[in-house]
Each structure stands twice: as C-alpha cells, then as structure tokens.
C-alpha cells in the first residue's frame, strides 16, 4: 500500500526503473560497524546504487555505539566496500554514493538515543523531499532485537505502518517458545506485514530459480508428485568446520543453524503447491501449508554426527572437539541425516531425505529428485543392468544448474542401455554479473516486497518440526565421522533400510 500522492502516481514514472525502487527511502542499519554490515550490507547497498536500482531519493543511516561523524562513517563504509564488494570501487561513482551515507551514534539501552534517531530520520526525510519509506535493519546479535524494537516503537518510529519496515536476521528464536516470545515483542510495535525476516538463502539466484523451474515450465509439474517421484534428497554440505564461530555453534548445532531455516525453506520451495500469483501472501501461504503438512522430525528417522579428524581436499583437519572454544565432551551435532514425510495428496508416501554437515567431502547444496523406475523394461536383463532410475538434480551451489539423468543406447553392437547426464550450467547461459543474495533481499525490503522473506507462521511451524529432535538430542553423543567423508555410516544405513542410497554429489 502506498499513500496518496506516492511516486508511483507520477505520470512520468511509467516505464522507468524496471526492477528498481522508485519511492524515496531511508535505510537505517543498527549495528552499522559490525561484521554483517561490513561484509554484506554496505557492499550490497553500494552495488544496488551502482546498478541504478536504488530510489533517486535515498539515504542510509548507520547506527552504532562507536562515536563517528558522517565523514568518518563514509571512510569506514568505503574501506568495507573495497574489502568485500563483488565489484571494484568506482572512484568516479563513490562521491554520489557517499553523499547518501549518514551516521548516528547511540546505544540500545537508553530511550533518549531512539528519540535522537527519530529526529535524525525526520531531518533526512525532509532533506530528500519527504514521504520516505523507512527500513530499519537489525544487524545486531539477536539478544538486542527486543530492546531495539521497543526503542523504535516508543520513539514512534514504527509508524506509519504503510511506510515503515523492520528487517530481522536469523535466528528467529532458538525454539518454538522463544520464537513466539520474540514475535510477541515485535508485534507489540510492528504489524506482521512490516516484519521482514531475512534468510539470505532465499535471495540466492539459484534458489529463486526453483520457482522459475517449477512454475514456468509445464513439462515438470505433471510428474512432480508421488506418482512419479520415488524420493527426494536435499543436501546442504559444507567443507569448512566451525572456524571462528565455535561459541555460537555450540549454542546452535546443525539443526538450528541449517535445518530449521535454510533447509526447510528450500524443501518448501521444492514441494509446495503452485501459488496463484508470485505475490508475497500467495507464495508464503503455499509455503506455510506445505510446512503444516510435514510431520515433526523424530529421532528414529534421524542420524546425528560430529566431525572427527581427517582430511578435506588433501588438508588435514582437526576433530570438532579439538577446535578452539569447543569443550572436549561437546555433544553438539555438526551433521544430520533425516527422513521427512509430508502428509498431503501430492507427497504422501514419497519421503524427503535431508542431510547437512560441516567438514564434509565438498561444499555443495543440491536437490535431487529421484524418479521411479519404469514399470516394465522390455529389454534383456543384460541390456539394462547398468541403467539407473531417472533423476533430476537442481544444483544450488556451486556450479549452479540442472542435471537430468536418463537412459540412452550405448554405441555397441548389442543393445546396451546406459545412464547419461544432460547438464545445464546456469553460468553457461548467463555469465553476466550475478547479484549477491543480499542485494536482492535489500532491494525487496526497500521496495516493500516480502515474497522472499519468512512469515511468522512458517517460522513457528519450522520450530514445531525441529523441536522434538533438538529436545531428544540434548543428551547422548553424536556419531563421529571422518572430516572429508560424507558423514557417519549410520546415515547410509538410514537410507539402506528403505532400500535406497545417498547420491554422491
């Protein structure tokens, strides 16, 4: 919704700014000197500006405790962009971008800082011509979310609802109860439609390509069901360990870090029904419906692991318990393999197997749709003995693309059918600059398009799915697996008991 007299009513606007934002906006970053702001937010805003996608009337306000002038913040931002932007610093363009950057020093615990911020925002709004949308980005540890939200609300910065949005980074709680508590605090000041819960995975071009693949092509949807699909495997594998995030990881583990958000969101895209329109509520309704149909995870259908020492791509790697800041008796799971089931018409009886872990053989994220075998093969056993069932693999990273496996006659004198892969590499059709996920998501937040952001009902349902397993895994020890392997043997046994096996990505 836009107020009367908004830029979109400007008769000169038709046909301009295809894909960009036109309505004036102020973007306030809480935690503007933090790691996320330096690595992602400031470079993303810079690249959006360079691509001409930001509104012509636009301003950024950095907010953090550190005392700094506007000029100081501009120097800080320039260094961050030079270090982390996917494009090189353009010195000719920099002055125009720098003029948009402003800074407001303040803490989170004193309401007077928020009132001062309100004045700064008001002045900047007037400076750029008035009527600006306001996006408050909470780039701070989640423990500060309640106090910042309250500060904004008490300073009347959460209104008017049509113009104000608040962007929250994960984690959205650490279980169902805390997620509800956080939502209750946020909803005290912001309506749900103002809340943009960001999961950067959903901004990746190749994750968005799942929508295009499924809903822009008529040839796949008819076979996208339990009638033709035997099972689906989703893999989110990392080759790195916990690095410098051990303290954080000890508190989260693989289920909270990956499954509850990234993995279930990708699964929802793969399995949801087609939305009536690619609009925020239509898409998010379908995702929520899908998650509601999913059974909570159970420990009987899940395997947890923890990486042991080993070699990853030739480099020696220590065990998780030997990492700095990790207790030697830690039972934190760094790996999960699980079977998920969806009780709806389309997917009943077709399991989804998920696996995710650290220090695995390589970094890869993919969705593999394994189709059923032909009901009857009219060939001799010898002719088709090496033929595997069809599979369709959506590779999200790296080497983004789609791979289809099917049977073809080998050029031999006797009939022999072999499986061949037909690979479509996303990059071989579009080698142009691929925007960072944060560019896509920040632009959407500025434009007020919440399609790619997670709604509270989905967050809560995802916790309901994960909480039983998290609870059960509080005690006991995960199974060790060698760094550089594909996880513990028990993960293979989980598949073997259903007569299936993991794909080697």
């Amino acid at each position: 919704m836009s107020p009367r007299g908004a830029p979109r009513d400007n008769p000169l606007r038709e046909g301009l700014r295809v894909g960009g934002a036109s309505e004036p906006a102020l973007f306030v970053i809480f935690g503007a000197t933090g790691d996320l702001a330096q690595r992602k937010l400031l470079p993303a805003l810079y690249n959006l500006a360079k691509r001409g996608l930001l509104p012509p009337r636009f301003g950024v306000v950095g907010y953090a405790r550190t005392e700094m002038t506007d000029e100081g913040f501009r120097r800080f931002a320039k260094a961050a962009i030079e270090a982390h932007s996917r494009t090189k610093m353009d010195e000719r363009f920099w002055p125009a971008f720098a003029s948009m950057l402003h800074y407001h020093a303040g803490g989170f615990d004193d309401q007077k800082h928020f009132h001062e911020l309100a004045k700064t925002v008001e002045d900047l709004d007037a400076h750029i011509g008035g009527g600006a949308h306001r996006v408050f980005y909470l780039s701070t540890p989640s423990s500060f979310f309640p106090v910042i939200v309250k500060g904004l609300g008490a300073a009347k910065l959460s209104r008017p609802a049509d113009l104000v949005r608040v962007v929250i980074e994960k984690p959205f709680g650490r279980d169902l109860e805390s997620a509800r508590d956080l939502a209750e605090t946020v909803h005290r000041w912001f309506q749900e439609r103002q809340v943009y819960r960001i999961d950067h995975y959903l901004g990746k071009e190749t994750v968005q390509n799942i929508y295009a693949f499924r809903f822009a092509n008529a040839i796949f949807e008819p076979i996208w069901s339990n009638s033709y699909v035997d099972h689906i495997q989703i893999t989110v594998a990392e080759s790195i360990g916990v690095e410098h995030r051990a303290a954080f990881y000890e508190e989260t583990g693989v289920v909270r870090d990956i499954v509850q958000n990234h993995l279930l969101q990708v699964l929802a895209l793969v399995a949801m029904e087609p939305p009536a329109a690619f609009e925020p509520e239509a898409v998010r309704d379908e995702k929520a419906k899908l998650l509601r149909a999913m059974r909570p995870m159970s420990f009987q259908d899940a395997v947890r692991g923890q990486y042991d020492r080993g070699y990853v791509a030739g480099d020696e790697a220590p065990a998780y318990t030997s990492e700095p800041e990790v207790p030697p008796d830690s039972n934190t799971a760094t790996y999960i393999a699980a079977k998920l089931e969806i009780d709806n018409w389309r997917w009943a009886g077709t399991p989804f197997y998920i696996r995710s872990g650290k220090r695995l053989a390589k970094r890869v994220t993919e969705v593999a749709v394994q189709f059923r075998r032909p009901p009857h093969l009219p060939f001799s056993r010898e002719a088709a003995e090496h033929l595997e069932a069809n599979s369709l693999v959506l590779r999200i990273q790296p080497d983004e693309g789609i791979s289809l496996r099917f049977g073809a006659k080998a050029p031999t004198p006797t009939l022999s059918i072999r499986s061949v892969n037909m690979d479509f590499l996303y990059g071989s059709s579009f080698l142009s600059d691929v925007p960072e996920a944060y560019e896509t998501l920040l632009l959407d937040a500025i434009r007020g398009d919440s399609t790619l952001f997670t709604r509270q009902d989905s967050v809560e349902r995802a916790w309901q799915i994960c909480d039983p397993l998290i609870e059960q895994w509080q005690t006991g020890q995960p199974q060790p697996y060698a760094s550089g392997s594909w996880g513990p043997d028990a993960a293979d046994e989980l598949m073997a008991r259903d007569g299936r096996r993991w794909r080697r990505p």
Binding site: R4, G5, P7, D9, N10, P11, L12, R13, E14, G15, L16, R17, S22, E23, P24, G52, P56, R57, R92, F93, P95, A96, S99, H127, I128, G129, G130, G131, P398, D399, A408, P411, V420, N421, M422, D423, F424, L425, G427, S428, S429, F430, L431, S432, D433
Partner: protein
C-alpha cells in the same frame, strides 16, 4: 573474465556453415549440450559498422551465449565464414558463434533465415541509416525479428517511425541514452507538491543532440497528454534540461567533469543525480535483455514531431 579463445574457418558455402560450427565446437558427441540464448543479426555496410560490430561482439559475447549473423552486402552468391569465441570466467564457459555473410544484398535475408537458431529470439541490430520502408531487405529482416535495434541519432526519427510500424518490438539507442535524464526528471516530480507544477508545464529547453531533445519532448507530451514546446541548443550529448512550469523552472544539469549532475526546482533542495553516458556495448547489452515493445517509447516517438 579472460580474453576469448577464438577459432575461425575460411569462407564456405552456406550449406556448410552448421557443419563448420560443429567442428569448431569439437564435434557434437553423445551427451553434449550447447547453450544459446538468442540470435543477433547485424547489418554491416561500412568500415565504421565493422568496427562497432567487432567492439560489440567482443564486449557482450562473454555474458550472453548467442549466435551472431553479420551481413555485409557485396555481390554474388552469399558465402560465409564462421567463428566461435569462448570466454571463461569463474570456472564457467560461455561460447558465442559468429557467422559473417557476404553476398548480393537481395539474397542476404534468405541466408539469415536459413541460419537462425530455431525457436530463440531474433534481435536485428540495424546500423546506420535506414532505407526507404519499401526496401525488401529491411522488410524481410524486420519481419523475422523479435526486436529491432536502431539508432535514431544516426538514422533520424522519421525512418525509425517507419520501422516502428513494421516491427514487433523496437529499441532506439538514442532513446536509451536519455534514460538517466528521464529518471532524473521524473524524480523531480515524485512529491505531490512538485507534481502539481506539471500541470503548468509549457516548454522544454534542452542542450543536447536535437534528436534526443525531440524524444524527450515527445516523452513529456505523451506522458502528460498535452502540448509541450521545445527549444534546443545543439550539443554532442545532453548537458542540460530545463522544464518551464509556469513561473518556475525545474533543471537537471550535468556537472562539467563527470557522469553526475544536479537536479533542482522550486521548493526543492538541489540534489546530486547520476547521469551516466554508457557506451555502445552497455547500451546494446541492455536492449538484448528486453523482449517485445516498449509502450512509453513508442508513444514518445509518435509525439516527438
């Protein structure tokens, strides 16, 4: 991205073109997949056209796997020379194919039709002057094209209007050059208070190429559905645009040294605006990403007289 690896063949009959391209690809064996996203037909009549063609194909080839068909009128039965260029970047490879055809002008459209990659969009980049609308070569090529790209800075507005009547989709590079100016002008009137001033817009003063000035005037007339006078001071590129609205004037002006400028108006604080002047490669690349007609341009073109 690295410089492309280029392979070429000698002149061949048209019938041998596909085979020659397959050989350049290393032979199409079982399971190989070729990625192509569009056909780009380029007319090339002068030395200058040839230079621009080289520059553009070098510049955009690495981002779009395309088949370029470059046609140059000469005499006799058309003959072709084929080349493939592969760019490697971030572990991925994009390859483009180029077919250069020389032959009698009247025979060129049929050569093009025979060599288009099936079912992919066809962009026709018509360089330089545009012939009379009764010209059969123009007519046949425009008819085959999903989108025609011309430059009214070179061809003039009237011939572009003729093409517009024939084409499914038309892009004018001169119009695209006015994009940042239209952006900046539109932004002046985003706020309701300033928008009211549009009701009193009577004239436009432009320092820039007369053709782009006419398109800007056409744009304002068509958007506002009213007459707007135009006064042009000729310059190589647009440097200044002034909109006369009653007693007040709204101005967008390029600063002397870079691709930025200032926008100002009554009750409006001056603000910096980006006024980039992208080169031919960037202009053309952007147009290859669009399909179909662009309504505001067509209306502006119609009202540009």
């Amino acid at each position: 991205m690295t410089r492309p690896e280029i392979k070429t063949t000698g002149w061949t009959e048209l019938a041998g073109v596909e085979r020659a391209l397959a050989e350049l690809r290393g032979g199409d064996s079982l399971g190989s997949v070729r990625a192509t996203t569009l056909n780009l037909v380029i007319t090339c009549s002068t030395e200058e056209d040839a230079e621009s063609t080289e520059r553009v194909l070098e510049g955009i080839g690495g981002s779009r796997p395309l088949r370029a068909i470059v046609i140059s009128p000469s005499s006799g039965t058309p003959k072709a020379r084929v080349a493939s260029a592969c760019w490697t970047g971030a572990g991925q490879q994009v390859c483009t194919e180029r077919i250069t055809i020389h032959g009698a002008r009247a025979a060129l459209p049929s050569a093009v039709l025979a060599l288009l990659v099936a079912d992919l969009p066809v962009f026709l980049w018509w360089q330089g002057e545009i012939p009379d609308p009764s010209d059969s070569v123009l007519e046949e090529l425009v008819e085959a094209a999903t989108r025609v790209i011309v430059d009214s800075d070179q061809a003039g507005i009237e011939p572009v209007r003729h093409v517009d009547r024939m084409a499914a989709g038309l892009a004018d590079l001169a119009w695209v050059r006015t994009n940042p100016w239209r952006e900046a002008i539109a932004a002046l009137f985003d706020a309701p208070r300033q928008r009211k001033a549009l009701d009193h817009l009577v004239g436009l003063e432009v320092s820039g190429p007369p053709n782009q000035a006419a398109l800007l005037a056409g744009w304002l007339r068509s958007r506002l559905d009213r007459q707007v006078g135009l006064d042009t001071t000729r310059a190589k590129r647009i440097n200044r645009v002034e909109l006369l609205c009653g007693d007040g004037a709204f101005v967008v002006e390029r600063s002397s040294r870079n691709e930025h400028g200032e926008a100002r108006g009554p009750n409006l604080a001056p603000r910096a605006v980006g006024l980039p002047a992208p080169g031919l490669v960037a202009l053309l690349s952007g147009e290859l990403d669009r399909l179909g007609a662009e309504r505001p341009f067509e209306q502006a073109l119609a009202a540009a007289a």
